[in-house]
């Protein structure tokens, strides 16, 4: 029993890592006032960029940089449409999602001829698990041994990075000048403008942050979690991250818990597939799968607490007359 709990939590961490990265990316963008339903597409595009680059250059770090660059470019495109040209943020997001879905398969098919997949990555072309010092030594100690060697040790560097990013993000958003202005831009851009700060440049910078973070999330999927890119491998993770962002009320630490909760549900769904539970019987996997969405809808509707987003999110900034 204890072992299975540890294993589920272990899986939770693995599944949650890209959600955390993407949700924090969404946090930067939405806190600045830009709705980001393009997370899904950016994850997908950067997953492809990471795997393709890693496979061609043989370097996983190049893959990571390519992923961040790709996703940042898409972010800038989003900004060009909705900041510079005041386009609809939702429409722009839909376009980017479609673009990523189409381009990854098209370019993948052209470059690798594997039906959109990239060639499988070798160990050196991936982020592999890191065994923390002493993990093997303590593995046999009851309780703590398993906790340390399975749950805490043995993840790849991006998982640790994602977790580390939460306090960093919190610090940036709440303790720095950039964070203060970012939050202000999403709440009342007029206040930012009259304080002599450019709203557009601020939002662009927020989108660049978002681009870099989603890039890492994408790289995680194709070069850490799996060994290569397969078409549509983001499989809705961008939207789950968006849901976690709403669930965490646009605040870094609650967002982390949102991601862990949704990751946990995902891990449970896999674990419970076909299993009979005492008294309840078999729980359909799909019932667990939809929980993140259902919970988010309930929260948005104010049935369980209330999620109120940044006030100015979704509206292009126009100096009022």
């Amino acid at each position: 029993m204890y072992e299975s709990i540890i294993l589920i939590l272990d899986a939770t961490l693995r599944v949650s890592a890209p959600l955390i990265l993407a949700a924090l990316a969404g946090l930067f963008s939405e806190r600045s006032g830009i709705v980001n339903i393009a997370l899904e597409g950016k994850i997908l595009a950067s997953a492809f960029a990471a795997a393709a680059t890693a496979s061609v250059t043989g370097s996983v770090m190049f893959g990571l940089f390519a992923a961040m660059a790709t996703s940042t470019l898409l972010s800038l495109l989003h900004g060009f449409a909705c900041i510079t040209h005041r386009g609809d943020q939702i429409v722009s997001g839909v376009a980017i999602n479609m673009l990523a879905a189409g381009l990854t398969v098209t370019l993948g098919g052209y470059w690798f001829g594997l039906g959109g997949q990239t060639p499988p990555l070798t160990e050196t072309q991936r982020f592999t698990s890191i065994t923390l010092p002493g993990a093997d030594a303590v593995a046999d100690i009851p309780v703590i041994g398993l906790l340390y060697s399975e749950l805490i040790s043995g993840h790849n560097i991006l998982v640790y990075f994602a977790l580390l990013l939460v306090p960093i993000c919190w610090w940036v958003v709440y303790k720095t000048r950039f964070g203060l202005r970012l939050r202000a831009a999403g709440e009342n851009p007029h206040a930012v403008d009259t304080a002599g700060i450019s709203v557009a440049w601020l939002r662009y910078r927020a989108l660049i942050c978002a681009g870099i973070l989603t890039g890492i999330a994408g790289a995680y999927l194709s070069t850490a979690h799996s060994a290569g890119f397969v078409p549509n491998m983001s499989a809705g993770k961008g939207y789950i991250a968006l849901a976690a962002l709403i669930f965490g009320k646009w605040k870094p630490v609650p967002v982390l818990f949102g991601c862990l909760l949704f990751g946990f549900l995902d891990a449970m769904a896999i674990r419970l597939q076909g299993a009979e539970l005492p008294f309840i019987g078999e729980i359909p996997v799909q019932a667990i799968e939809i929980l993140p969405y259902v919970l988010t809808v309930l929260l948005l509707a104010g049935f369980i607490g209330r999620a109120v987003g940044p006030k100015a999110v979704g509206t292009p900034y126009i100096k009022s007359r």
Binding site: T176, R177, A184, E187, A191, A195, G196, I197, K311
Partner: protein
């Protein structure tokens, strides 16, 4: 223009500032000199161009032409950042505060030192405590803005400007949201600031404040600067006249009204907005068939809210109104559709926002509010032929040009749009007509037609309520004039008694004793 002409003492000078927004000429060739260390009032009605001018000084808008001199030097202000760096601070009418930030965070936004907040916060806390004691600007520094009353929010705005080292402080209608006590405190703060050498520009449309708080005053009217006075050398009467302006008196031929039965009454009608401010305070009035009741008042004293409550667009907070025998109050609210059914036509004050839909054709705009009428509809489909003919008929009757029902509403001139809206509302033969700003932005020819028609409607036995910023218009058309001030009805005069001077003073809520006898108290809500 009796200001001291010592260049060294002029904190701010404007020379020939001009600004257009599309077709709207917001500021025309404005000149202004503000001596350092004085409180300078800028007074004018809503829409006179005061806010635009102040936003130009603050670098938020850029003037089309003209120079701005700060302490004698010509400065090009292309952004608020530059204006701030030259020592200009502004407290906007709508506060530029982030609601879920603390006071401290709001103050340092844009004035942070270095990438980290902690040192800036620390410094700001110390500085703000100093400012607080020096100028009686006490604010709980760690409270969130959304938890503070408006009066304190305003202090935060002032602190923001002072923290940035503002030497010239602009306040745009600062007292609109304040209680009298808060206003008095604000003026004390002004005095303290002036004593420290800060120059203050106070924008307002309230005469009392100008007289209570300023050294000098400039009057704006319709985008122009029409007069400069020393406050000590002027009085309310003169300012009221300058503000409203002496225009060519409009002549409308009309006989004496023959009022008949009462159609609409209000009884202690009160409306409180979302911010908790009472916009209407216990308003009791009535409209009878066959009379025009004008509402006079400086803009923003509750006239618009009264119209909206009567038209069913706002829900009364307290009190009742009775339209043609139907009672409406907070528990029995009405709606725009219901009020129409009760026989009320509404010509809204802002025709482009409410009166018509710019992207719709004229014939579509000509059925707004009556889209469900059986005239225009069959069982399922509407009758495009009828809608077109009816619109053509209205256009013919009211001389709307071009006479093209298929033309987009936005492509008609203001006067023709207005005629179309009036035609639409009048054509349904309502008992009561609520008319807001009937001739705003309308050319002279159309004004005459519209005025003539309003009197004809009165003679046909309609009850008409008229709200207008043009005092002349109110006097030319009304049989009774109700004066509103600060959400209240402060008096009522008959057409014979009314003159510009009397109304101007009543609008400023001055009731000199010799006038008291001629002014009737408003008739309380009569029961039907």
């Amino acid at each position: 223009m009796s200001q001291p002409h010592n260049e060294n003492n002029i904190a701010l000078e404007l020379c020939g500032i001009d600004k257009k927004f599309g077709a709207v000429h917001a500021n025309r060739n404005i000149d202004l000199k503000v001596p350092a260390g004085t409180i300078h009032g800028i007074i004018g009605e809503n829409g006179a161009g005061k806010s635009t001018l102040m936003n130009i000084i603050y670098g938020f808008y850029i003037a089309d032409s003209g120079d701005i001199k700060i302490s004698g030097k010509v400065r090009k202000l292309t952004s608020s950042k530059e204006a701030i760096s030259y020592g200009i601070g502004m407290v906007h009418q709508h506060f530029m505060l982030v609601d879920n930030f603390s006071v401290l965070e709001n103050v340092i936004l844009g004035a942070e030192e270095g990438g980290l907040l902690q040192p800036s916060l620390k410094k700001a806390r110390k500085e703000l405590q100093r400012l607080a004691t020096e100028y009686q600007l006490d604010v709980p520094l760690d409270a969130l803005i959304e938890d503070l009353p408006v009066g304190l929010q305003q202090r935060v705005e002032i602190l923001k400007a002072l923290y940035r080292g503002a030497k010239i402080l602009i306040l745009d209608e600062p007292t609109g949201v304040l209680t009298p006590q808060e206003t008095d405190h604000l003026f004390k703060i002004f005095d303290a600031l002036r004593d420290q050498g800060v120059t203050i520009l106070l924008i307002t449309h309230k005469l009392r404040e100008i007289l209570a708080a300023t050294n000098n005053v400039s009057v704006m009217r319709q985008g122009e600067m029409v007069a400069h006075r020393k406050t000590a050398e002027t009085n309310k009467e003169e300012l009221a006249e300058l503000m409203v302006g002496r225009k060519v008196r409009l002549k409308v031929d009309r006989s004496k009204a023959k009022p008949q039965q009462t159609l609409l009454t209000t009884n202690k009608l009160t409306y409180t907005d979302e911010m908790g401010v009472d916009r209407l305070k216990e308003v009791s009035m009535s409209i009878k068939a066959g009379e025009v009741v004008g509402i006079a008042g400086v803009s923003g004293n509750g006239q618009s809210e009264l119209m909206s409550v009567l038209a069913g667009l706002l829900k009364p907070t307290k009190g009742q109104l009775n339209i043609n025998g139907t009672w409406i109050d907070a528990n029995h609210p009405s709606s725009a559709a219901k009020v129409r059914e009760l026989g009320v036509g509404h010509i809204p004050e802002d025709r482009l926002v409410m009166g018509l839909i710019k992207s719709f054709t004229a014939e579509e705009s000509a059925i707004l509010g009556y889209q469900n009428s059986s005239t225009y509809n069959g069982k399922l489909l509407n009758k495009p032929g009828v809608i077109n003919q009816e619109c053509a008929r209205l256009m013919e009757e009211w001389d709307v040009r071009p006479q093209d029902p298929k033309l987009r509403s936005s492509l008609f001139s203001g006067g023709n749009q207005q005629k179309l809206i009036i035609a639409r509302e009048v054509d349904k033969n309502p008992d009561v007509l609520l008319i807001g700003q009937p001739t705003r932005g309308v050319d002279i020819g159309a004004i005459e037609t519209i005025h003539k028609r309003i009197i004809e409607l009165r003679d046909q036995g309609k009850g008409i309520l008229l709200v207008s910023v043009e005092l002349d218009e109110i006097m030319a058309l009304s049989d009774r004039i109700i004066v509103m001030f600060d959400g209240q009805v402060v008096g009522e005069v008959s057409a014979e008694q009314a003159n510009e001077k009397l109304l101007g003073m009543m609008m400023a809520n001055i009731m000199p004793e010799e006038l008291q006898t001629t002014v009737q108290q408003p008739s309380a809500g009569e029961q039907l």
